[in-house]
Symmetry: C2
Subunit: 373 residues, 2 copies
């Protein structure tokens, strides 16, 4: 492995110094869920646009119902559409415009229809069952801030505003060049495509670096070490690229490299699958999440849990220790490589200044559950 | 609204009594991330298939390095491929088969090449840098259980097993029939399409119930009450369907209905967007998540937080109260409808037997963040 390893903090500093001004694109509102909004959105008009019934019932003048009860039903004339006459009531459904002169919607359970009359069985306070113009929001109200990852209700809000297409941050396009496996089948392509999709990026599988589309980042996966067949660094140089850092004090993941071809950042990831996963999460994913307008943080939920067994770690290396739940505590996983990755419910990071944790210590655990990118 | 409302528990019991045996389909491994595995997966063979180098370095017989140090370098002959001779070393890269007779990989930093010789600068323990056959997993090891939502590393595991297509649970196909809005633009279609996509379902927008494809469930959205223009129940009946329940003691969402057309469950959802969201989450989503092989639980993360202001709730109704974070506490939202939905960070459920919570009470909050369906 490269001998001049930098700290994880130095690698993060390099990543965070890369320009990250995501481009934007316009998408139909029905495809905007889970995308990040490019511009803030304010309401252009009051909602509702006019005073509307908020419930099914009878539009009335509340004063006409004063004193009504089951023992003292008050009669009102049932009228059709148009401004409400005093002493009258008009059947309305939720969402209908309130007739002029009406100030409340009498619930159906407080009304006893009797032909062209209605017996009011309870009083109703003015404003009951009415959504006044602007009751949901007023024109000019700031509704959705730029950068927000749109939730279903946010998309509904855009639709309510009459927006049909919305500017969102473009998904980062990541060229993915995977070295052929040393043995067995290609594990890195499905691993990295799934990670990129999870982080909101579009994987652009390419046979080599000469491939033409202009990506936002490039991942060269496999052959990242300095063993006899580790060609990734040479491939990058041959394509006119440079390595800014090669070797990170991260275990697994030591052979990760960070560089560029022209303005495009390039990350070399190790070929061992667990190392590739760890290095993606800690380094490549950080770059890609930033390019997509997300924060630099891990896309995993963090909880605190007690260790069932001690973790020993070397000073000077950040260790990524896969763990699984066991009886409400977390247990470092004895298996290696992919077996550890599939058995893991999450991982513990042991910082480079730490020698590990004793059994029973409560530590932060990053859970392998998808969170919003 | 319907007057014979059932409790939320009764509505859940109806939903949970619906058959939920998701069908399966075969998908390419590269498209299997985030899908649910239909069958358990065990390894068919040892991984590695044979003893392989786990690191770059020199394959050696560890005994040949005993006593080596920088002050006492021990020379070894560098040989090419083939079984290792005693007193020899062979350059290997991580993943390469170990030469016969070698039992350790000497790290490059412990070796000083000198032409056709190598000076060993440190001893190495037998097994160092070697992944023996089956070190990751043995043939027959159970790796992935049925029903697991496949994570990136799980997909990598399938690829490592040589699987190219994997049986997963089919996404539920949900016919979505949305009544025209009473005012303004259609908010329900984008809202429900986003919710269905989040919950792993495929929305099949249809103009009416007569549409032909055979869905796993049907959502009729809007016009679910019993006001003058509330036609959903009648539309269902005209199509030969029946309502098992109409009216749920859920606020908002009281006008939700549960029924069927033939063997296909049908859910009537209210047209007011916040009510539609609440009723989808509490009822329709539960059905759909079960149809997709997920648990019946809410797809939201739950935390506990202190209330900044009291919540008052009526006995006999389950209240869904949108809340937002404010100074580390949660604040019930004063706004109504969509404005509350977009401002909400989550919601508090107040059970039907509760009159609410005082200010300062610590309550469970369901956060509007996507979690794994």
């Amino acid at each position: 492995m490269p001998r001049d390893r930098v700290t994880l903090a130095a690698a993060w500093a390099w990543i965070d110094a890369q320009p990250a001004a995501p481009a934007r694109e316009l998408v139909p509102v029905v495809q905007a869920a889970a995308r990040r909004l490019a511009d803030p959105v304010a309401s252009g008009a009051d909602l509702p646009d006019q005073s509307r019934a908020a419930a099914d019932g009878y539009a009335v003048c509340a004063a006409d119902c004063d004193g009504a009860s089951a023992y003292n039903p008050l009669p009102l004339v049932v009228q059709g559409a148009g401004p409400l006459a005093r002493g009258a009531a008009c059947l309305v459904g939720a969402g209908w415009p309130m007739p002029g002169g009406a100030d409340a919607v009498l619930p159906q359970e407080a009304a006893q229809p009797a032909g062209s009359w209605l017996d009011v069985l309870a009083p109703v306070a003015p404003g009951t069952g009415v959504a006044r113009a602007g009751a949901i929001w007023r024109a000019g109200t700031m509704l959705l801030e730029a950068g927000r990852r749109l939730r279903p209700q946010d998309v509904a809000c855009l639709a309510a505003l009459g927006v049909t297409a919305v500017p969102v941050l473009r998904r980062p396009l990541v060229r993915l060049v995977v070295a052929g496996p040393k043995a067995g089948s290609d594990v890195l392509t499905p691993l990295l495509e799934a990670l990129l999709a999870r982080d909101g990026a579009i994987a652009d599988r390419a046979p080599d670096l000469a491939y033409a589309a202009a990506p936002d980042a490039i991942i060269l996966a496999g052959r990242s070490g300095d063993g006899p067949d580790d060609t990734a660094a040479a491939v990058l140089q041959a394509a006119g690229g440079t390595l800014a850092l090669h070797g990170v004090a991260l275990r697994p993941g030591e052979t990760t490299g960070l560089g560029a071809i022209g303005p495009v950042p390039v990350i070399l990831l190790p070929g061992e699958p667990l190392a590739c996963l760890a290095a993606y999460d800690m380094l490549a994913g950080r770059l890609i999440r930033r390019l997509g307008g997300a924060g630099a943080g891990l896309p995993y939920r963090t909880v605190h849990a007690a260790l069932a067994r001690k973790i020993v770690s070397g000073i000077g290396l950040t260790d990524i220790v896969p763990v699984r739940w066991q009886d409400g505590r977390i247990q470092p996983i004895g298996e290696a490589g992919l077996a550890a990755a599939v058995q893991a419910d999450g991982f513990v990071m042991v910082a480079e200044g730490s020698e590990g944790y004793p059994a029973g210590a409560t530590v932060p655990v990053h859970l392998y559950e998808a969170a919003d990118p």
